[in-house]
Symmetry: C2
Subunit: 130 residues, 2 copies
């Protein structure tokens, strides 16, 4: 089964696990920006749901608390997100790039790095074919 769609809150929780490894409910909670922390049991519920979706599992137990760890990679989840976004743009990347450039989210280094990669891929393809 492909990895399921993760909601906003679910992703925030997974982020904590991807970044810090196995965590308890309380630790996940504490990785939320103070001020906008949901209730302890809210995080707990979401973690249980993520467990049901099998994107995380109970790794071990410390004291009476379970530690949860991600079972899907951040990379896979990111790809899914990106692909969904692409869906809306029907493959048309110009507007996306344009917006990223205008708002300064994309640096010259980012772009040059991408260009280098593209050229490498192009070369490899040419070499392989015929």
């Amino acid at each position: 089964m492909a990895l399921p769609r993760l909601s906003r809150l679910e992703l925030q929780i997974m982020e904590a696990l991807w970044t810090h490894g196995a965590l308890s409910v309380r630790e996940v909670l504490e990785h939320f920006p103070a001020g906008k922390r949901p209730a302890y049991t809210t995080v707990q519920t979401m973690i249980y749901r993520l467990e049901a979706k099998k994107v995380l599992r109970r790794a071990k137990k410390i004291g009476n608390a379970h530690l949860f760890e991600a079972t899907v990679s951040r990379n896979a989840a990111q790809r899914r997100l990106i692909d969904e976004l692409l869906g809306f743009f029907g493959g048309q990347m110009q507007p996306v790039m344009a917006h990223l450039v205008e708002t300064g989210k994309l640096t010259l280094e980012d772009v040059q790095e991408a260009e280098k990669r593209l050229r490498e891929l192009a070369d490899k393809k040419k070499g392989a074919k015929k």
Copy 2:
């Protein structure tokens, strides 16, 4: 009020309006890929909800049918989507770019165009400052 978050189905409906202008419920329905068309009233319900959110309005009436048109631009909606995506990546665009390149979603032209834009912006900034 900022434009509200639009769900998947809502975006699909808006897409039809952005692309084809004012449409009736039935016309929007027909712009769904045959095979995965929801019921007529499903589309109708979503359109009513979009109307409540004020992202579209009744433009005119042809026969007994209303024609609906978008009141927010596709561009604004796209920006919102992109910004949301950025949130998850914490501004780190490398993984996004990498994925786009690997999967061939980004062409060399796309990247070069972006690079040109970036240089223009850089020049303008330098000129303005000092």
